[in-house]
Every structure is written in C-alpha cells, then in structure tokens.
C-alpha cells in the first residue's frame, strides 16, 4: 500500500526490524512558544506511570517564539538514561524541519506528521513508514479559540500515540485530572483532543505499531525531575537563607525553584514574615559579591550561574579563597566559549573553575551526574564550604539541569544538622582576647572564624590584601607565606573528605574508563555494549576535585584509561595529568562537544576502534 495517510501501512515491509517492546525513541519536532511542552510532559509522564523507564531531552533554541524545537523521549525497559543515538518514531509538527526530521529517522522507523496540509512528495522514504493525521484540521473543527486550537493540536498527537503505542488511557485521564485539578473544563478540552487523535489513529492505522509499550514495574520508588529543581531543594534543605543571582540560561530555573519552595515552606502564615532573602543582582559580579557578604555575615548563601557568570565572578572567587569565606556557586554549564550556545550542553568549565582567579588559587568542585546527585551534592556543598571556609562550586550542565531525569526518590534524614564548621560562639570569644582569624590552631589547616555582631573579641578585618595569621595587613614575606602555605595544607585536608568517586571494578581487566557528571548514563550503556563485544572495562566517575586517593589507586591499577567528557580540550584529562600520577600514554581522550548530550554510541565507536587496534598491534 502507499504510505499516504489514511490507509493502514504495510508494517512488515517498512519495518524490517520487526516488533520492539519498551525500547525505542520518540522525537517530537515542533515550534517553540506553541505550548508543546505540556503535551510532551503528558506523554512522558504516562509512560513513566506505566512503570516503563523513560528519559526526556529538550532541544530548544535560544529565542522565545517561532523557532524549531525538539523533544526526545527514550523508552528503555533496561533503564538506560542516555540518548540512544537514533530516532525510531518522529512526530513532525513543524513543516519547516520536515526534511531533516525525516532524514533522522532510523530505517524501519515511523514518521508521523500533520496531514492537514498536503505533504511535500520529497518526504517519502522507502525504509520509513509515513503516517499522516490531519491534527490541525481536526482541532480547528473541534475548538473555536485560536490559542486552544494551537495547544490542542499538540495534545491530539499524544492521543494518536496512545493508540499507536498502546498507552494506558486511564493513566492519561488520571494525569489530566491531576494537572488541571481545579479547572474541569480544561480536563474535558484536553481529553477531547486526546480522543480526537486516539480515534483517528485507531480508525486509520493498524494499532499498535510493532514498536510498542507494555506496562512494567520499573519506575516504582523513582521520580521524574530536572536537576535545577533538585539542586534548589538541596539548597532549601541545606538551610541556605540568602540567594543572589543574575538570570542566565540554563541556571535561571534553579533560583525560580528555590524561590517558590521558600515561599511555600519559609513564610510565616500569620505575619507573612520570610525566613529567606533572595536578591536579583544587577550582574554576576554583584551576585557573587552579595554571596560573599552574606556568607561572611554568617548566612548560608549561594548563587547559580553559567559559564559567562563564572568568568565575571573570577575576581571575587579569588577573594573568597584568600579571605576564606564559605561561598557556594552552582555552575550549570552550557556550550562555550563566550556566549556560545546557551541552550546546548557541555562540560567545558572544569579547568576554569578548578583554578578560577589570578594568583595561586585552587577550588573544591563537585560533579553531580543526575538530579538525584544535584540534591545530595548541593547539601554537601554548603557543609564543605563552611567546614573548609572556601568557595565550593557544583558543576552541573544544561542536560542535567533542565531535562527531566528518572531518578530514585530523594531521601532525607531528619537527623541531619548543618555542619557550620569552626565558628566561634560569643562565649568562646569572650574567653579569647587574642583571636587569630588565620592561624592553624588545630593542625588541619582550617582556622577558626567569628561572625560579625557576635562579640567584639571576634572583630577582625577581612582583606584580600596580604595578611598575617591575625588578619592584620602585612607586606612581610614570612607572614604572607605562612598563610598561603596553610591554605595549601587546608586544601590537602579536604582531599579525602570530599564525596568519594564511584568505582566499578567488577571486571578483571587493566582497561578502564574515567568519566564525569552527565556522561554517566552513556558510559554505563557503552560498557554493556562493549562487554557484548567482548571488551570488559572498569569504571571510575569522579564526584569531586581535588581528587581522592581512590582516583590515583584506580589509575595505578589500569594500563589504559579512556577519559570520557563533553568538551573539546579534554579538560578532565588535563586535570588528571596535573593532579594525579597518570601519564599521557595511560589516558586516552574521548571527547564529545557538539552541544548534544553524549550517547553510548559516541563512546563505543572510539573505544571499540582503539581496543581492536590494540589487539591488531
């Protein structure tokens, strides 16, 4: 039969790959500003509710309305969280991108488009089944307001997919009820759109497709959440009370979430008094300055930002390092250099954060791999910053921060109390007429600090200029060096107290992978694929800088290590060369930096080739 829309498609011929359950990728091509987000959310949530592991990745433009945007949902019964690297079902809602969208579909896949307008004949592809549904047409008939016609068109394709993939309609209904709890008319409108799509598909196609869904029980105890929200919850639970920020993609939603949670949990119902203070600064220099001031005054304070913000914060980061003020920065990395691609992902600020600011400076960095770790490490960031009285930067990225990830439910131990580190009380200070702010009294390189407003014995002068162990101004070589050397000692003390790397040395092999952050999912799948090809690889994922001894141990016990990261210059590899015993020969670089989240394929090809050459040689 022809692949014109209407008549059922001869799936056998066009889908040689045959039937596949709970293991394929749906990609929705749309135009931004048309409210496709809620439809995509509805679609993904319903799969999640069916107990099937899913991940959703949003590829949107750095603009507000009218440009192409894509949403990619990977259905993976095996629970793989990264991009698979191929598209099986394309929902093409944007005729501007029909051609490239069709080209992206894997052989045997499906191309599903809005057939309200006659389709461009160029579109046909022998190895792809093309399904057309007059979505706009149906919605224009059924709805009268212009806006709802646009919105419902998107909801309608969810209905169609429900039929084609066998999504549980009860779950969709349930989700609509929850989403529009109070507004019944919206529930009905959306349900109507769902039904339009559903019924049309049932009528015109042989449903379900060979790529289909089956309920499982793999999502229990999990949630779907983005890293910025999770990090914001971490800041809430860490007891951060001052947040200063300047809006910048992709970090903006982090402070939005923190704000709304504070408004929910920290406003006195009677008085309306607020137990937090969030300041929108005029730029990042000011935002970090506010955080320095607040932290110095005793509050837990933080600022979320992205690359350009880190560059602007450089001077203050060095100030906080040298004056030992516990500030927390969250860098949601995006594609650099400069303004780069604000809505694409990369891990390109590793080096600039590790040594941020002029002069001899080194900083504690934390590297979460997913939203769950964003929550945990955000809490840790504040404890570590105060314990070591130094800047702590958590580096996430756009992929983690703005996409919905399926992760285990966040846990909280009510026994937790913030670790304020060495802060002197009024009583202690009263006993201490000769307080030395910068002396190493305990031999761990960490001095004691005092907060303003507590006791006059604690008064000292915080200065970025040369200072003695008492905090007084100096230009004396020995006095200066004593403080600088202690800072190095303090950094060493921190090394093995930081979150430990994740090590998986199951396999008895001399070959391994070291990776970081959001590469984790792709690395895990790649290891399975390589194992399938007979290459077993051990794995270490760094969670913090400076690197713990385990990192050196792992390096020492592996002949060859592939360093997988998402930047051009192999920044993690460089850091390992500087800060561990690793040699260049040992560390091969696998770099992916085109702005799209890394997939297992990006890794498997390179490693496979490298290892096969080894064998050959």
């Amino acid at each position: 039969m022809t692949s014109d829309h209407g008549t059922p498609a001869p799936l056998e011929t066009a889908a040689p790959s045959g039937s596949r359950v709970n293991d394929f990728v749906i990609k929705i091509a749309n135009v931004n500003g048309t409210g496709s987000a809620s439809a995509n959310g509805l679609l993904m949530k319903s799969l999640f509710r069916m107990g099937i592991p899913v991940t959703g990745k949003n590829f949107f433009p750095s603009n507000i309305q009218g440009l192409p945007t894509w949403y990619e949902i990977r259905v993976s019964g095996d629970g793989y969280r990264c991009r698979s690297g191929q598209v099986d079902i394309m929902v093409a809602m944007n005729n501007e991108t029909y051609v490239e969208d069709l080209a992206e579909v894997a052989p045997g896949g499906f191309f599903f488009y809005d057939a309200t307008w006659p389709r461009d004949s160029q579109l046909s592809r022998k190895d792809v089944t093309i399904l057309g549904i007059p979505l706009a047409g149906m919605c224009n008939e059924h709805f009268d307001q212009a806006r709802s016609r646009i919105l419902m068109k998107n909801v309608a394709y969810v209905g169609a997919l429900a039929a084609l993939l066998d999504i549980d309609m009860a779950i969709i209904r349930q989700l609509l009820n929850e989403t529009f709890a109070s507004k019944a008319h919206l529930v009905d409108a959306n349900q109507a759109a769902i039904d339009l799509g559903y019924e049309y598909a049932q009528e015109h196609f042989s449903c379900p497709l060979p790529l289909r869904l089956e309920a499982m029980d793999e999502t229990a105890g999990h949630i779907m959440i983005d890293g910025n929200t999770a990090a914001a919850l971490g800041c809430l639970y860490a007891g951060a009370t001052v947040g200063a920020w300047y809006p910048i993609t992709p970090s903006t939603s982090l402070m939005d979430a923190f704000k709304s949670y504070c408004e929910r949990y920290r406003v006195d119902p009677e008085s309306g008094e607020r137990r937090f203070c969030i300041v929108q600064a005029e730029d990042e220099l000011s935002a970090v300055g506010m955080v320095v001031g607040a932290a110095w005054a005793g509050a837990r304070a933080f600022t979320p930002t992205s690359g350009p913000g880190i560059s602007l914060m450089n001077e203050f980061i060095g100030f906080a390092y040298y004056t030992e003020v516990p500030i927390v920065l969250i860098d949601v990395q995006r594609v650099g250099p400069s303004t780069g691609m604000p809505t694409r992902t990369q891990q390109c600020d590793i080096l600039s954060c590790a040594y941020a600011s002029h002069g001899d400076t080194r900083h504690i960095l934390l590297f979460p791999a997913d939203p769950h770790e964003c929550f945990e490490l955000a809490v840790a960031a504040f404890d570590l910053a105060e314990r070591f009285q130094t800047p702590v930067m958590m580096l996430t990225d756009l992929d983690i921060g703005m996409n919905d990830w399926m992760v285990p439910e966040l846990q909280w131990d009510d026994g937790y109390a913030p670790d304020r580190g060495k802060v002197l009380t009024a009583e202690q200070l009263a006993e201490m007429p000769d307080f030395h702010r910068y002396a190493d009294v305990d031999g761990d390189g960490v001095p004691w600090r005092s907060l303003p407003g507590v006791h006059s014995n604690g008064a000292y002068f915080l200065r970025g200029s040369g200072h003695t162990e008492r905090g007084t101004y100096t230009e004396n070589s020995e006095e200066y060096q004593r403080v600088l050397d202690r800072l190095e000692h303090k950094f060493e003390t921190a090394r093995n107290v930081l979150p430990a790397p994740v090590v998986e040395t199951s396999a008895d092999t001399q070959v391994g992978i070291i990776s970081i952050g959001s590469c984790d999912g792709a690395v895990r799948e790649a290891r399975d694929l390589l194992a399938g090809r007979g290459y077993a690889l051990n794995y270490l994922r760094v969670k913090a800088f400076p690197f713990a001894d385990e990192v050196d141990a792992f390096i020492a016990s592996h002949r060859r290590i592939f360093v997988v990261e998402q930047n051009r210059d192999g920044q993690l590899r460089r850091l390992l060369l500087m800060e561990t015993q690793a040699t260049r020969q040992q560390l091969s670089s696998i770099r992916h930096y085109n702005g799209m989240p890394i997939s297992a394929r990006d890794i498997v090809e390179d490693i496979g080739r490298a290892l096969s050459q080894e064998v050959a040689a």
């Binding site: 009370t241 203070c277 300055g289 509050a299 304070a301 131990d413 407003g453 002068f461």
Partner: protein, 351 residues
Amino acid sequence: MSFIRKPTVANSRLPKNALGLTRRDYEGGMSTLCAGCGHDSITAALVQAAWELELVPHQVVKLSGIGCSSKTPAYFMSQAHGVNSVHGRMPSVATGAGAANRDLVCLGVSGDGDSLSIGFGQLAHAMRRNLNMAYVIENNGVYGLTKGQFSASADVGSRAKRGETNVQPPIDPVVTAIALGCTFVARSFSGDKQQLVPLLKAAIRHRGFALLDVLSPCVTFNDHEDSTKSYAYTRRYYHPAIHADFVPPAQDIKTAYDHGEAMPVELHDGSRIVLRKVDEGFDPSDRARTIGFLQDAAKKGEVVTGLMYIQPGQDDLHEVNHTVPGPLHSQPYAGLHPGADGLKDLQRRYR
C-alpha cells in the same frame, strides 16, 4: 584550639558614653596615610559620631573597596568587623551582609575612584534597593593610591599635578544619587567637623541608603594650585546651604533650638534631623529644584554642602522583602525545610 591571652588596657579618665565606652574605644589602628590627608579627618569624625551615637562596636560592620580611602576602616572602631572588598565592589558585599543580618549597622567608606569609576554600577543599584547603610565617599578627585590619575569626579578645568587638565564633565555623586532616587543625600568637607559629625550621625540613623559625599583633599596629588579639590579651593568656594543637626529620640527639640526657624525631619526610630536653611532657593525635599540649585552652583564653581535631599519612610531592602527580624543565620534550622515527610510529600508531583 588555643589562643594566647593578651591583657587589655582600660583608659579610665576619658569621658564615657552611655555604654561606658570612651572615644578611644571607637578608634582603630594607626593610619598609614600621608600626613594631612583629608581621609584622616573623616576618620576622626566617624569616631566622634559613633561614640556620640553610642553604637555597640561589634554590631557595626565597616566595609570598603580598595584605595587610600578604602584603607580607613582599619583606622577606626577596631572592635567592629570590617571588610576590605575588591576594588569598586563593596556595595554588593554590603548588600549581602545586610541581607544576611539586618541588625548590623552597615557603614561603607569608599573613594571617588572606587565608587564612581569601577564601582558606579554597584553603587547605583545599592541605592535603588534602598539598602540600609551609610555610604561615605571620601572624594578627592583623583586615584590617590595609584598616584594621582584623574577620577570620574575630577572637575572640568582642574589641573593634575603632572600638568594635564581635565576636560571630561565630572560625575557629581550628589546630583546622580538624587536623580537615582537615593533617599538620603548629603555633601560635606573633611575640614568641617562641625557639619560632618551630625551628618554622619543622621546618615547612620537613616533607615535606607544614605549617601554622604565628603570632599577630602589629597595633599600629595591634588592639593596644588589649579586643583578644584584642594583645601584652598574648597575653603574658598565653600557654601553650606543648610544646617542639619541630629537629635536622638529622648532629647527635646525646643531645648535644642530656642531660636531660628527649624524644620525637624522625623526618622523611623523617633530621632530627628533638624534642618535650618541658610539658603532660601533650596528645599531638601524637592529633587528637581535641588538638582537645579546644585547645577547652578556648580557653574559658579561653588561647593554646596549640607543635607541635600532626604526622604524618610521609604521601605528598605528588608521591609520590601518582609524578612523576619534578626540575623538569618540565627533562624532555627527546623524552620527552613519541611523535613523527611515534607520531602516525600512534595515529590508526589514528580511522579
């Protein structure tokens, strides 16, 4: 841990304020500025004002940027915490400190370079937030610490020690502050302690952002002939437009002012600033007229001083935010998060 004790010397004979503290208790380290530097006189005025206001030293925070002027917080109130921030960014640090602990008395001391060149953006935005602080600009028209380059407050026609003459119009912090909606704007002179001390007291007590531009000659790089920021020039063209006295809550104005038409301005804590005009063409509650007055004076090369503009009762950063009383770091941790149950609960919507 252990620290060495050091005996503290009490100086009994000096007069004490209500807290039992002497002026010396409000002093700081030895100044390393040039002999005769205007900044040192302002330091002395600050000591006097703090002592008279009976400020609890450790409740005060002194903040500055970088410069000769910015060194001065080390020279007064050694019992108060201080910050020497990075150059030009003190307003943001003050904002953070103020945001974290609204009980602190926030006192900023900066220079014309630190505030009007590199720091102009931050200064403007701190004013806009009506941050509760007193901000003193020790204004000498040059970058002293880097040896005398013109700053943004250098007047047209003023000649530098090295010979070149400034041609760029100055940024007048007073005019700009008024235009930007700053709620307390005053100008004074390091050489006029009579005027300066009460203005400092009023600025500190004003709730909101109080800008005090104090002409403070740089004897080393900008006190020569043809300088418009020299002692000689300032004295010559000095024009106090209005007297401002600070009267604490308790005291009664009558007793303080038996004669002369006095306009009292009430502050949030019941204290008052009593104004007495010297100059009729002038009203410290009318922005535009004041700006006109100042610009006319500037044309004549006059140095108008006094409390130029005041608008009490405007919400400060915390009133806008409805922040709880007291330092945020003393908020009980339990009140900052909904605990394990709350976390379970709020995650429902992520399922």
